[in-house]
Assembly symmetry: C2
Homo-oligomer: 397 residues x 2
């Protein structure tokens, strides 16, 4: 029988798969997914855009493209990113097969088995999986409501050998929901400037802000372009057009880009031309900008409904805060409560969520849970949240 | 500054990129690409199929799907593969982001840095890149007109430690163009049965046969299902629908599938739902079957034109054989001739191809070259081949 490589033997199939099959059952209300709202996808608009393309472009949709991405999308995406103040011209842009691929390529570019990397706790599960697949020793630093804990981060950066990078999601964090404060972002930059540790800045949710007043806080660190910090900025079309397109991007300094492009050649040759053509048309026509405004409003409404329901039904020993954008609300239970027990009771009652330990690289913190509000109808939110609240109460007796 | 991982430092940017940018120049006739014919893509047919989908399916095209692939495509592709006699039910099927991703996942599943793997010489460059990215020591075994050299293969399989797998492309080989003989296939199976070495059987071109009489020889080893050999069968929609969809597949025994699915989760979460929905409709409607018949005839015509031109213009010290399917003709020059010199002269004259050393894992064989006929008009073939022939003659003086 075949013998497998060491790094893959260390990967474990997560409970996420079982959860997702539960979540697709019609009799279960799911707050588990990280999926955009199914009912909001711009189906008609994309269909019309595709029809209007010229024959040459349609043929390009069927053909291989350059590993870095189709020139037309490189151009239009550059415009989209420059509007956020991102220094595209002094870096290199790689179109990736979802931003998950960008994280995977960066992991392979930087990590030799056993290397230490730093993340936040909680942390996006796809990032943990990508870093682990490269053999990393993943260490997490707690978040509070303003961002990463600077004191703990400083301690970790001072240990030798130095970590290969820090991975952070400062804007509407998955799963913590938070938006970094200006002050914390500046502290983070200052700390990194004193080290040679690159930053992977994941900005998959930044466009989904609810309040105009937050826009200054949403300025990416990559756009601030601080001296002496290699920032690898990743983003995605998944939340602003559709994850089924499998398109994301990496904006990085030339030497890092070069390694990632080489690795992408051997990973999947190029990202899907078919959906690149669509994404390009969606940017150029202004359709994508309009769609983002639509979902922003819809998600704000759903978030408001969920926070109202949580306020009404949750016991006051559960910690959480109102989302200012993105998809998620993070609940912190009393220390002695295991969210896995809550999940069990919730499933019996007909609702699911994801336990916090799923997002814990160390797998030791059991008393938190993630709720997603973006892919639920008002009726589901109003019916489902009391079930979750009851499951919590039942476990806290 | 950032420090990169060891395996990525060993990867070199290939000359292929420069060649491809040459190949896209309008004043250059390119026989270099591995691209399907641009003029034959079923643009109109796919557009109509997409229009006719119901709203639920269209929405699924925008959403995340399961890592293994959308259930509808799992089902229709199973039917397509079972018609080839493949044992889908007793294995597991993974939809991948092109078959390049299948090779990449298998490489990561099996290879620890320094592990030896066996391939053919010449060998598909994407496979070499994927195996190298995983840190493999890639050893190649020569092909003749009937398949892999069994004696050399036996010697290599007997060396310890055992190679992690053998990678082979028995059907219209890229770049060698050959189709394994029945006899050689059976010898290969017998040899592998005496070892524990898994076979990666790449069947990206098998549907593109020119002669009904060859169909028995096209029966995959995976379909023969020999006792005691773990066969990982890879295939692709790239040549039978369009590479821009970035869809391929892996059919493998459960334990191997499991590792690859885990790795895919961290690689790109899932393949593009958008193009999976299209591929599914293309299979179910019968459109894909009809398209394959169309391109089979068109490629046969182009191949016939190129072989006629080669017969007319090539000096008789150049070895080559008539293709029986697929995309490629492989030319063997006299030993002392370096195909890189021929390429230089050909580019000056206005035509490009890929040198054989590109497909040589050891990088030592310089006297071969690959011509592709599939993406050229008759006029380009008739104008371009004399330029190539003259470049060869000029180097052989």
């Amino acid at each position: 029988m075949a013998t497998f490589s060491k790094s893959v033997s260390a990967l474990r199939s997560s409970a996420i798969r079982d959860l997702m099959s539960l979540a697709s059952r019609p009799d279960i209300i799911s707050f588990a997914g990280g999926m955009p709202a199914n009912d909001l996808f711009p189906v008609k608009e994309v269909e019309e855009l595709f029809m209007q393309l010229d024959d040459k472009t349609k043929r390009a949709a069927f053909q291989y493209g350059p590993t870095e991405g189709l020139p037309m999308l490189q151009e239009s995406l550059t415009g989209w990113l420059e509007e956020k103040g991102l220094p595209v011209k002094s870096n290199r842009l790689l179109i990736t097969t979802g931003s998950q691929q960008a994280l995977n390529l960066l992991a392979k570019a930087f990590i030799d088995p056993g290397d230490r990397v730093l993340t936040e706790y909680p942390c996006f599960i796809g990032a943990i999986a990508a870093f682990r697949a490269a053999g990393a020793d993943v260490r997490s630093i707690p978040l509070d409501s303003e961002g990463i804990d600077i004191r703990t981060l400083r301690e970790e950066t001072q240990r030798t050998p130095a970590p290969k990078f820090l991975y952070a999601t400062p804007y509407f964090h998955n799963p913590a929901g938070i938006l970094y404060s200006e002050k914390r972002k500046l502290e983070l930059i200052k700390l990194l400037q004193g080290t040679a540790i690159p930053l992977i800045e994941d900005d998959a949710y930044g466009d989904l802000w609810f309040h105009e007043e937050d826009r200054a806080r949403l300025m990416p660190i990559k756009a601030i372009n601080p001296d002496g910090v290699d920032v690898c900025y990743t983003g995605s079309f998944s939340k602003i057009l559709g994850p089924g397109l499998r398109l994301g991007w990496l904006l990085a300094p030339e030497p890092i880009y070069e390694k990632c492009e080489l690795l992408k050649q051997s990973a999947d040759a190029c990202s899907p031309s078919f959906t690149q053509v669509i994404a390009d048309a969606a940017i150029r026509s202004g359709m994508m900008g309009g769609y983002v405004e639509t979902v922003r409003k819809a998600y704000l409404e759903r978030a408001a409904l969920m926070t109202a329901a949580l306020r009404q039904h949750l016991p006051d020993y559960v910690g959480w805060s109102e989302p200012r954008g993105g998809f998620y609300i993070w609940l912190t239970l009393p220390e002695e409560i295991n969210a896995a027990d809550v999940l069990k009771k919730a499933i019996e009652a007909g609702a699911v969520f994801v336990t916090g330990s799923t997002f814990d690289p160390e797998g030791t913190r059991m008393n938190a849970m993630r709720l997603s509000y973006c892919n639920n109808s008002p009726e589901e939110i109003e019916r489902g949240i009391p079930l979750i609240a009851k499951a919590i109460r039942d476990c806290c007796r």
